[in-house]
């Protein structure tokens, strides 16, 4: 009896483990998007389809917003005439810096790690995200210890 149960239990564990493969073929999370001089003030949507990001430059520098609504993960639309991001799924609204101001979104949209590589191009890393959870400290000004990259490029 114990042997049968043990075998069945082992089989169940193997069955469950089967659904979690060891390697994935998903899009790269680290990529180059060009030189800082390519980006003017405001929101640049040219990488939305390819990498699901927006590149934004303001008076402080350049940062990259991950184009994922913090409510349930849709891609908001950039509305130039209204100067805001609007999510088509449940109506969350964000200002041009990705800070939520309307709708069900619980926090601003996350930002990706950015740094400048030796040939001067901006490298974006979506696996390192900076967020600003409600009631907590904003990570949007965080920089790497070496000062090479971080949540924002002061350029």
């Amino acid at each position: 009896m114990a042997a049968v149960l043990g075998t069945l239990g082992m089989n169940l564990l193997m069955f469950l483990r089967f659904f979690f493969p060891r390697a994935l073929y998903e899009p790269k999370t680290r990529f180059k998007i060009g030189y800082p001089s390519d980006f003017g003030f405001g929101v640049d949507t040219k990488f939305q389809n390819q990498f699901r990001i927006w590149v934004v430059r303001n008076t402080e520098g350049i940062f990259v917003i991950s184009a994922i609504c913090t409510h349930l993960g849709c891609t908001p639309d950039w509305k130039p005439s209204e100067n805001k991001f609007k999510c088509p799924c449940h109506g969350s609204g964000y200002d041009p810096e990705g800070i939520n101001f309307e709708g069900p979104a619980p926090r601003p949209m996350d930002r990706a790690h950015v740094e400048v590589d030796p040939d001067g191009q901006i490298v974006v890393d979506l696996s390192k995200l900076y967020s600003w959870p409600k009631g907590e400290r904003s990570q949007f000004g965080d920089l790497d210890p070496g000062g090479k990259g971080g949540a924002i490029l002061h350029v």
Partner: protein, 324 residues
């Protein structure tokens, strides 16, 4: 001729068949040895006799097909107009035995039961049928999936009809399951001894919703893609098993090993998610749901049949009380 022999299975017919073959063989032999004139004549005579017997058998079969062995082996029982014989007729047939041999007159009170459970099952059968036909044209992989939908809509004969039957049938099944549940609730049919079946019914409701949800992604259009994005993002917040849920991070959950990953086969809604939704939708959940349906229907019978209003007695059926 051999068919008739099979029907009747009479002992006489078997030698007839062997004789038939033997006749041609004997002819060949006779020509070879030049000395079997009598033998040939005898074989021809027996072949003719076999033929006439076969004709006789065919005539009998046409006249009374219910007396052949084939008929008896398939249908078994002759049904007299007696309650016992009718019950036997129902019980000895695999399809008819799914129905009760006898039911309470009140169990067919449609204004009480709405017939909603039976109709839900009918819609489910329709969905299985149309869904299986759709599977002949659908490839569950990115880019091709949506192209197949367009192909079904515009180039496959009756493809649009089948797809719409499947889609509307799915909506209808969800609505009807809920109406059925509503009726059962309103009539108190979840009460003793039907508590267990109520629970089975709730599980069937959940399975119906899961079928609906997994089918949503399959067209791989904008509507389905974002609906499943939203739906599976909720799984992030699953307690213990989601990487954003209570105690999830403490248990080591990340976007790459939590329950959402298990559903999608990846950290994003992509080709693996489409394939997983397809398999859940077309194989796993229908099998699980069918098993629960078997239990559900069996329990209805064992719990005293379809619940109805209090049994009524017609005035003509009231027996006179004997005077002592």
């Amino acid at each position: 001729m051999p068919e008739t022999n099979g029907h009747d299975g009479k002992p006489e017919s078997r030698p007839a068949a062997t004789n038939g073959h033997g006749a041609s063989g004997g002819n060949g032999q006779g020509n070879g040895t030049n000395g079997g004139g009598n033998k040939v004549a005898a074989l021809v005579a027996s072949a003719k006799a076999t033929q006439s017997r076969a004709v006789e058998e065919i005539k009998e079969t046409i006249k009374a097909p219910e007396k052949t062995d084939l008929w008896k082996s398939v249908l078994r029982v002759k049904h007299d107009e007696t309650p016992r014989s009718r019950a036997l007729g129902v019980l000895s047939n695999v399809f008819l035995h799914l129905h009760p041999a006898k039911i309470n007159r009140d169990a067919v009170a449609y204004n009480y039961t709405w017939g909603m459970g039976g109709m839900t099952f009918y819609v489910y059968i329709t969905l299985v049928f149309t869904g299986t036909l759709l599977m002949f044209y659908y490839h569950p992989s990115k880019v091709i999936a949506f192209r197949d939908i367009l192909y079904l809509e515009s180039d496959v004969p009756f493809g649009k009809l089948l797809r719409n039957m499947h889609r509307w049938g799915a909506h209808l099944m969800v609505i009807m399951v809920e109406l059925h549940m509503f009726r059962v609730f309103l009539t108190g049919s979840y009460k003793k001894p039907r508590e267990f079946n109520w629970v089975v019914g709730v599980l069937l409701l959940v399975l119906t919703l899961l079928l609906s949800f997994t089918g949503y992604l399959l067209p791989d259009d904008q509507l389905g893609f974002w609906a499943v994005t939203v739906g599976t993002n909720m799984a992030r917040a699953t307690p213990l098993l989601g990487h954003q849920g209570p105690f999830g991070p403490q248990l080591g959950m990340t976007p790459f090993n939590d329950v959402r990953f298990g559903l999608l086969g990846g950290s994003i809604v992509d080709s693996n998610a489409l394939l997983r939704a397809y398999i859940w939708h077309c194989v796993a959940i229908p099998i699980i749901a069918s098993a629960f349906m078997v239990v559900h229907f069996w329990r209805v019978r064992k719990d005293g049949g379809i619940s109805g209003p209090a049994p009524m007695v017609l005035e003509s059926e009231i027996k006179e009380v004997k005077k002592v």
